[in-house]
């Protein structure tokens, strides 16, 4: 009897690609069927918590580290059995920062995206958001609910204060920024319509907008980038644990990482993948540059989540 693996995945282009390419390739390799469950970290987290750690509906999840770290703390995941993940060793150090509990399967670096036609002076530094009067009232920021929003706070804390923990400085900076357009997701429509002319943007998204003909570009700011990460985790009581490991290893393989790079312009986390010259513009970060991506103390954020969210809400205008 054929085994079935429930594969949680993001929607839209991700779902399409998983349906058309990733799923079938995995089936071909392992003979197991794939059921895609489209969603995001919030809903998978809610489902897992409702079901309880003992009877999870999934065998693995790939989601933002900020969600994953919370679930991990609550005991849903197991420490990875590295013997079953032959590709783990080839990952960049950035992708292995969870002490063997998870492995980052996809990285979308975030820099500053902007409209080349609506902005005269191109941004170079995050500080330009404060300093360039052209941006006033047309700056987009992710809200705090989005993991990017949390990173915005930590980044600004770091830039304007002592370190990522100096959130007083971060909030003070946000206060000074004045009125911004907050989005929960989908910064692109605002950018396309010109309501937003500059915002934190992941490079893959900018690449796709540019390929579709929108006059946009994106810079790596002087102070550094952050990223949308997607950490692969295996459920401690996974109904299909073997398949889950096979699938995790499959995702981390150079082949699949390369495919995702071509499709979504992510930065591959497997160091064996080389970005070809014609993709350099769309995938500007790879190799040694991967270490320039800033990472954060999610435990700090998770523990102070309520307080930070409230301060954010009180600060942003």
């Amino acid at each position: 009897q054929q085994k079935t693996l429930v594969v949680p995945t993001l929607g839209g282009v991700w779902e399409q690609y998983w349906r058309s390419t990733v799923g079938p390739a995995f089936t071909k390799q392992t003979g197991a069927a794939v059921t895609l469950d489209v969603g995001n970290g919030r809903v998978w987290g809610a489902n897992l918590r409702a079901a309880g750690a003992a009877k999870p509906p999934y065998s693995m999840v790939m989601t933002n580290e900020v969600f994953a770290s919370g679930l991990r703390k609550e005991g849903f995941f197991e420490k990875l059995d590295l013997t079953k993940l032959s590709n783990y060793n080839d990952l960049y150090p950035l992708a292995k920062k969870t002490d063997g509990w998870g492995a980052i399967g996809a990285v979308s670096p975030i820099g500053i995206g902007y409209r080349t036609d609506l902005v005269k002076t191109k941004p170079k530094s995050w500080k330009d958001l404060w300093n360039n009067p052209e941006f006033k009232g047309k700056i987009g920021l992710y809200n705090f609910a989005n993991s990017a929003g949390k990173m915005e706070l930590l980044l600004f804390s770091k830039i304007f204060g002592k370190d990522q923990y100096d959130v007083d400085a971060g909030f003070a900076a946000l206060q000074k920024l004045g009125s911004v357009i907050q989005v929960d997701f989908n910064m692109s429509t605002g950018l396309a319509s010109g309501e937003i002319v500059v915002a934190p943007f992941d490079f893959g998204e900018i690449a796709r907008l540019r390929r579709q003909g929108l006059p946009v570009d994106c810079v790596i700011p002087e102070e550094g980038m952050f990223m949308f990460d997607q950490t692969i985790n295996i459920l401690a009581n996974a109904p299909e644990k073997e398949l889950a490991y096979q699938y995790a290893n499959f995702l981390l393989s150079p082949e699949v990482q390369g495919m995702m790079m071509k499709e979504f312009f992510i930065s591959p986390t497997n160091s064996k993948v080389v970005v070809p010259a014609d993709l350099k513009v769309d995938v500007p970060v790879s190799g040694a540059d991967m270490d320039k991506i800033l990472t954060w103390d999610w435990n700090f954020v998770n523990e102070k989540q309520g307080e930070l969210a409230e301060r954010w809400a009180k600060t942003i205008k």
């Binding site: 429930v6 993001l10 929607g11 839209g12 282009v13 991700w14 779902e15 399409q16 349906r19 059921t35 895609l36 469950d37 489209v38 969603g39 995001n40 809903v43 809610a46 489902n47 918590r49 409702a50 079901a51 309880g52 509906p57 997701f185 989908n186 692109s188 429509t189 396309a192 319509s193 998204e205 907008l209 579709q212 003909g213 929108l214």
Partner: protein, 260 residues
Amino acid sequence: MSKPFFTVYCLIIYAFLLAPIAVVVIASFNAGAFLTFPPQGLSFRWYLVFFNNEVFMRAIRTSLWIATLTMVISGIIGTMAAMFYVTHAGKLKETVRVAMLAPLLLPEVLTAISLLFFVYSVGLGTQNLVGMIVGHVLITLPFVFINVSASMESYDPAWSLAAQSLGAGRFTRFRRIMLPLIKPGVIGGCLFAFIISFDVFTISFMLKGVGMSTLPIQLFDYLRTNFTPEAAAVSTCSIVLTMAVVVISEKVLGLRIHRF
């Protein structure tokens, strides 16, 4: 109010109702790659993309099916509750009303989460559609209830009594006398139930079965990462579809009864 002024006033409101939708419809014919306005040239290209997108087609079918089921269940339960409320509730009237409105008064997210935990705790889980349909029924029930009870306020109980005196039992009285005479409220309530179920997001998002999807979820997930006019094309088609349901119900069932 003079008649022309009144007509113009209504036309302006209709225009207001239509405006953002018109924008979406126009955007769906965009030949360019973005949801931009005004569109860069006109074409049906995104409709073709949409029709060939099995994922969306499946989501639409799922949504239609769930909306229909929800409408029927909510319609029946809500109408019965409204009948109780108007004619039998007595001193409990205010209580019944607030209770029936509770699903609206309670934030949808919280209802979704509590229901999610509940279905898992009773072993139903989200492997099937029970949780989601229950959620849809909960959310749509107040709309049926409110519409039906408002239209029953002008129902003369003597009509039921007359039918009763002629030998009609409970169900016949309802089907042949009351239902036709409160039709606008029932149809209005059921249309609301259908449309809202077709459109409800949070409940579906939390309670959807593993591996399935409704149109709003599909659109939401799609729009997180895609910005093409395909979404507008999908929406336009769903407008046309639901409009058809509305116009057909008006034509077939008639939303007005001539009492006087």
